[in-house]
């Protein structure tokens, strides 16, 4: 079962990418990727939780029996998300004001449960943490790409409000790509997220096909990807449709 780190990284960022490989986490994905900045915020917050949950699940993997693993993982993840939320609110208050909206949304991210089940529960701590990191990087990249595409085509800007999230030094990121653009509402709304996701998925499949790879990294962990994909798509959510 031991995978070398290069293949973990490749798996997390491209082959088995949370969004483009496993098609997980679609609920938070579609809700927040209206802009690249929001995608980045959501991605970074998820990354932290993915690493922490990987470490904790890996540490406890001998204690968790197979029969109770799902409720145990859910408990662990919910606990981590809540602890991160409260600690950030208390000690990193300014950052929390920016990321605060995204943190509760992480609980709806079944990719974290998926990684706990498919990887962390069978691996030593270090690979589990590295897998969480790489999955998080892959997820963040996917969110930023999707958010950037929707933002440019939907609102004509890129990384709007980035200084709020990253600090004033990153003001240069904020650009108006199409000046005087009246906007294309469909792409800002969740249906636009689905459409853009479909287009990007097709692009990835094209690249994979050209390189002769098997699509979607399906050779590893096929059963679980499928189970959690179903759960992810069906996940009812108060935040999901975003018609605030």
């Amino acid at each position: 079962m031991t995978q070398d780190y290069v293949s973990i990284a490749r798996n997390g960022i491209w082959d088995n990418n949370v969004v483009f490989g496993q098609l997980l986490a679609l609920c938070p994905l579609l809700a927040v990727t209206g802009t690249a900045t929001n995608g980045l915020g959501m991605g970074l917050a998820s990354l932290v939780v993915l690493v922490l949950s990987g470490v904790v699940v890996s540490l406890l993997r001998q204690a968790i029996t197979p029969e109770i693993r799902i409720p145990a993982f859910v408990l662990i993840i919910a606990c981590i998300v809540t602890v991160v939320d409260m600690s950030m609110n208390a000690w990193l208050h300014d950052l929390h004001k920016q990321l605060g909206l995204f943190i509760p949304l992480i609980v709806t991210n079944c990719a974290i449960l998926g990684r706990a089940e498919a990887f962390a529960s069978r691996q030593k701590v270090l690979p589990a943490a590295f897998d969480g990191l790489m999955m998080g990087v892959g997820f963040t990249a996917a969110l930023v790409v999707l958010g950037a595409t929707r933002e440019v085509l939907g609102s004509g800007t890129l990384f709007a409000n980035a200084p709020l999230l990253l600090g004033e030094h990153f003001g240069f990121l904020e650009v108006s790509v199409i000046p005087e653009y009246s906007g294309f509402l469909l792409l800002v709304l969740p249906p636009g997220g689905f459409i853009m996701l479909g287009i990007l998925l097709a692009l990835k499949a094209m690249i994979d096909a050209r390189q002769g790879n098997k699509p979607r990294g399906a050779e590893s962990e096929p059963t679980h990807s499928r189970i959690f994909t179903a759960a992810g798509v069906l996940q009812p959510s108060t935040e999901g449709d975003g018609a605030a």
């Binding site: 809700a31 799902i70 606990c79 909206l101 449960l113 069978r122 018609a243």
Partner: protein
């Protein structure tokens, strides 16, 4: 996350580490183990809550001080507004904590919080009103609206909230205190009508609250300033 329960199927259990002893395979042991997990989780959360409750309340208070300064200009008062806090009980709005701004003992404005029901939950709005019932300023203190759609009510993300300064119950009249989609004069956002509607409604209710309690507030302020 209860959607995942159908996947609890021991037939497809992939774990092969062979750690399970006879004891651990009995159903009761699973229950006990899960209960222990719940207990540990509850303990951790309680501990973190105890540790963070104080700092979180402090941060909330700091935010309130900062917000008070935004809705009531420093120039019009010389008192510390948080010292002049009083609670007014109103038939419609319930108990409302009102912060009073004074210059040389005379009331020059009040600030209080109203809550609107947005798309993602409660939206806490802070209003500053001058003695004549005109809005000095409005800020959103906390909300859980969808990022990118409903969060334009934040001052940091849009100027929208600035549009309320100078308005009052008679300007615009009752028909104007609505978002444009409902026939009023305030802009909604693309993809988000519920959020601005909730804020407009909360501000309108705040103005009505002030109108109803104006005399109480002013007389109470006089006794309070002595």
């Amino acid at each position: 996350m209860t959607d995942h329960s159908p996947t609890l199927n021991t037939d497809t259990n992939p774990r092969t580490d062979g750690m399970a002893s006879v004891l651990r395979e009995s159903p009761a042991a699973h229950g006990v183990l899960l209960a222990l997990f719940c207990l540990a989780t509850a303990l951790i959360l309680s501990l973190v809550d105890i540790v963070t409750r104080g700092p979180i309340a402090d941060r909330g208070r700091e935010d309130l001080y900062a917000s008070l300064a935004q809705v009531v200009p420093d120039e019009i008062h010389d008192n510390a507004m948080t010292d002049g806090a009083m609670t007014v009980t109103d038939a419609e709005a319930g108990a409302v904590t009102v912060y009073v701004a004074r210059r040389a003992g005379t009331p020059t404005g009040v600030a209080f919080e109203m809550t609107g029901q947005g798309y993602g939950g409660a939206i806490r709005v802070l209003l500053g009103i001058d003695p004549n019932g005109e809005l000095l300023g409005v800020r959103v203190l906390a909300h859980a609206e969808t990022p990118g759609l409903g969060d334009k009510i934040e001052e940091a993300k849009s100027d929208w909230i600035h549009g309320f300064a100078g308005l009052s119950l008679s300007n615009p009249g009752p028909e104007g205190w609505k978002v444009k989609r409902d026939g009023g004069q305030f802009d909604q956002f693309s993809g988000a009508t519920i959020t601005p509607r909730a804020v407009v409604d909360a501000i309108h209710r705040g103005l009505e609250f002030y109108a109803r309690n104006r005399d109480t507030l002013l007389s109470a302020e006089e006794t309070g300033s002595q």
